[in-house]
């Protein structure tokens, strides 16, 4: 069969692709037209001396021809590009199913690297207004309104300050100045505040927007993105509270705070990846929403936010695999210790976050097609 396929000539006549070859006259062929963008099958058929109708819609198409008698064997691959209604045969080769799978995978990976960014960029104004409404809607009808964004972390901090700082008299390493606990706690709380708020809601976000899935033409992949930016907003208020606390306890706001964006970028990538993953999983396992509350609490206590890291002792290895350990330390370094973050661990964190980001988006994107059946 390979020998025969190698002598195939294909030509485009008007809007049809004619496939001819020596020895093919008696060979029944099967063809499939796929859209290379989405990889969906557009058309298909069988015949001898194939005469494949092409669409006049602009796009990038793959036409796969196999011999019916030789089902898993070699595949004739035609790449047809239609531009301005004119079809054009871009390339032609003989390939195998495995090779096609591989090339599809590489193209998929390349897309996965670009698509999350392009999707966020394309929908930026929609994201902006949805985040704004999310924040406004959260406090709609309450008296203190948007000030809850400040009051909430403040109250939380006071509670922890009382339990850990006063009752358990926790001290953070070699800092006995007044307010030390409050400041260390707050600095550690900053990245966690944003993360836990976003991740806590991510598992339910698609189900919550069931109407968007089933009834609207809507870029679903921005739903988790909205949560992340909404969480970042809370963190912004947290930073203001921390600055207030710094001034209150008579410390300076040192120039090392300018390192903050370097910490926020990997933090954002990581949170986005986790939120995409959770949002997709949350549709498949409804119980995840219930479980998340527990997981987040556990994660919080496994991160040295309300206690000093030296207390973990033999469980110190837990810190190494916890991205928030690195983040918490880095936040404390730049905000309280007037030092640059540890570059090596920050680099490691950034690489890991980028991977989580791509993996999370990939998972979301793959399951997204099924959402309409599931919510």
């Amino acid at each position: 069969m390979n020998a025969r396929f190698s002598e195939v000539t294909a030509s485009i006549v008007e809007d049809r692709l004619l496939v001819k070859g020596d020895g093919l006259e008696d060979c029944r062929l099967k063809y499939e037209v796929r859209d290379r963008q989405t990889d969906t099958v557009l058309d298909g058929g069988e015949g001898v001396n194939l005469d494949i109708p092409l669409t006049e819609d602009d796009g990038d198409y793959a036409i796969l021809v196999t011999a019916v008698a030789d089902a898993p064997g070699s595949i004739l691959f035609f790449h047809v590009v239609v531009a301005a209604g004119e079809p054009c045969l871009a390339s032609q080769r003989t390939t195998s199913a495995a090779a096609l799978r591989r090339s599809r995978l590489t193209r998929g990976l390349a897309r996965a690297a670009v698509q999350p960014f392009s999707s966020i960029w394309r929908n930026r104004s929609l994201i902006r207004s949805m985040v704004r409404r999310d924040i406004a809607g959260r406090y709609a009808g309450s008296h203190a309104g948007v000030f809850w964004t400040i009051i909430h972390p403040l109250l939380l901090m006071l509670t922890y300050a009382f339990v850990f700082g006063v009752v358990l008299s926790t001290r953070f390493a070699n800092d006995d100045r007044p307010g030390s606990f409050v400041l260390y706690f707050l600095a550690g709380m900053l990245p966690w505040l944003a993360f836990s708020e976003s991740a806590g809601r991510a598992a339910g976000v698609v189900i919550e927007h069931a109407n968007f899935v089933k009834k609207l033409v809507f870029p679903l992949d921005i739903l988790p993105v909205n949560l992340v930016f909404s969480g970042l907003f809370s963190q912004f208020f947290g930073v203001l509270v921390l600055f207030g606390a710094l001034l209150l306890f008579g410390r300076d706001i040192y120039w090392t705070v300018l390192y903050l964006p370097l910490l926020i970028i990997p933090q954002l990538l990581f949170t986005l990846g986790v939120c995409w993953l959770l949002a997709a999983l949350g549709v498949l396992f409804r119980d995840l929403g219930q479980l998340m509350g527990f997981i987040i609490t556990l994660w919080f206590f496994l991160t040295p936010i309300c206690y000093d890291e030296s207390l973990l002792g033999q469980y110190h290895w837990l810190f190494r695999i916890n991205p928030f350990y690195i983040l918490v330390r880095a936040y404390r370094a730049v905000l309280l210790e007037h030092a640059a973050p540890e570059w090596q661990s920050l680099l490691w964190l950034s690489a890991a976050s980028a991977l989580v980001f791509l993996f999370g988006y990939g998972c979301f994107h793959r399951t997204q097609r099924q959402f309409a059946d599931l919510v």
């Binding site: 557009l42 058309d43 819609d57 609207l216 033409v217 396992f285």
Partner: protein
């Protein structure tokens, strides 16, 4: 311009949710069964065309609209849309009940791809069209269904779509608003907007659409001129109801909602017979139908009489007559006699559900046997006229100036 080529939708049905996850793992055999909601079909709606989609529930209408709007991906095939698409599959699907109507107009407009400034510019006409007054400033959760519909529809048509896809949108909302919508649809058509519309209101489809398709069991059963397509649809519905009647109602038991009388005469059977001579429960408007009564006399009656009464579902008398009124006196009967009496008439009623009440009476008006709502039936029509009487109407128009 909207073009669908070879599109189909096969849903995967999983017995247990966990099967879906297992299947995603490598080396696991398929654990689903396929449900084809829509068999491969081609569809093309040109600029300025209005396509009506009719068919029974579960026929694939909603799936088709979701595919056309691009909300769900097709299993095979491709939909190409040229221009901005506005889909109104469920009214106010993107509405957040906590926010004001105005805020929701912004949200929906932005979801449909408009900038805030563009929405601001069309806000006055959106408000005017919706006509909900000061409610625009109140949270949507305080709205009635009608207001919801008005605002959602008003937003959708003001985003200046090139393609508008509407599912059963005008079913709610009052007559005034429905009229305004119909005019708007006509205006959109003139502007060259491509419209796809699903409706159970066959009259509306006939009025608005220049082409229609009839979808049943995921296949296009008929396509083309709306009147022809609708006739095919009504025909299919009649057929189905007949099939249902013969299986469900083979025994003509009498089940009156209320039966009273002295029992001197007994009505033993009531049948509603269609034009084709077979018993029916679904009648075409204007069809010649026969009500057949079998009456048994337990006591002799010198001047017996029988009557029928048709009521609407909410109990309004639509039409009633009896043998004496019609001047068809029944013969004197002895005890043990039986009569079969037929009332034949043209069923000039508007399409809705009716019940048939029958009675055997004494000329004084005293009842021997009275059966309220002995038969329930439905009148079907392609045009939806209001009221009860369905008077054949011809319209003539002369230009006066």
């Amino acid at each position: 311009m909207l073009k669908a080529k070879n599109i189909s939708k096969v849903y995967r049905i999983y017995d247990r949710p966990v099967d879906r996850i297992l299947e995603a793992l490598p080396f696991v055999l398929p654990r689903h069964s396929d449900f084809p909601a829509l068999h491969p079909l081609d569809l093309e709606v040109g600029k300025g065309e209005t396509l009506g989609v009719v068919g029974p529930n579960g026929g694939g209408k909603s799936t088709l609209l979701q595919l056309l709007a691009g909300i769900i991906p097709p299993t095979t095939g491709r939909v190409s849309r040229k221009g901005r698409t506005a889909a109104l599959l469920e009214l106010g699907a993107g509405f957040n009940p906590e926010f004001s109507g105005r805020e929701n107009v912004y949200i929906n407009g932005e979801i449909m791809g408009l900038s805030r400034r563009e929405i601001e510019a069309s806000m006055p006409s959106i408000e005017r069209f919706a006509g909900i007054g000061e409610f625009i400033e109140r949270p949507v959760k305080t709205y009635s269904t009608g207001m919801h519909v008005r605002l959602a529809f008003s937003t959708a048509i003001h985003v200046d779509p090139d393609i508008l896809i509407v599912d059963e949108a005008l079913a709610v909302g009052d007559a005034v608003f429905a009229n305004r919508c119909i005019r708007k649809f006509e205006e959109l058509r003139e502007k060259g907007v491509t419209v796809v519309l699903v409706s159970h209101d066959l009259g509306l489809v006939k009025q608005l659409c220049n082409r229609a398709v009839f979808l049943m069991d995921g296949r296009i059963e008929a396509a083309g001129d709306p009147s022809d397509v609708i006739n095919r649809y009504v025909g299919a519905v009649l057929e189905k109801q007949k099939a249902w009647r013969t299986t469900e109602d083979a025994v003509h038991g009498l089940d009156a909602s209320h039966r009273h009388g002295d029992g001197a005469v007994e009505i033993r059977a009531v049948e509603l017979i269609g034009q084709d001579g077979a018993p029916t429960r679904a009648v075409r408007a204007g069809e010649r139908v026969t009500v057949r009564l079998s009456v048994f006399f337990h006591q002799a009656q010198p001047t017996p009489m029988a009557g029928i009464l048709i009521r609407t579902r909410n109990g309004l008398d639509a039409f009633g007559t009896n043998t004496k009124t019609e001047g068809a006196d029944l013969p004197p009967c002895a005890a043990g006699d039986a009569l079969e009496i037929e009332f034949a008439f043209e069923c000039l009623l508007t399409p809705q559900e009716y019940t048939l009440t029958v009675a055997a009476q004494h000329p004084s008006g005293h009842s021997h046997d009275w059966l309220d709502d002995a038969v329930a039936f439905r009148v079907l029509d392609i045009a939806k006229r209001s009221g009860i009487a369905n008077l054949p109407t011809k319209i003539a128009v002369r230009q006066l100036s």
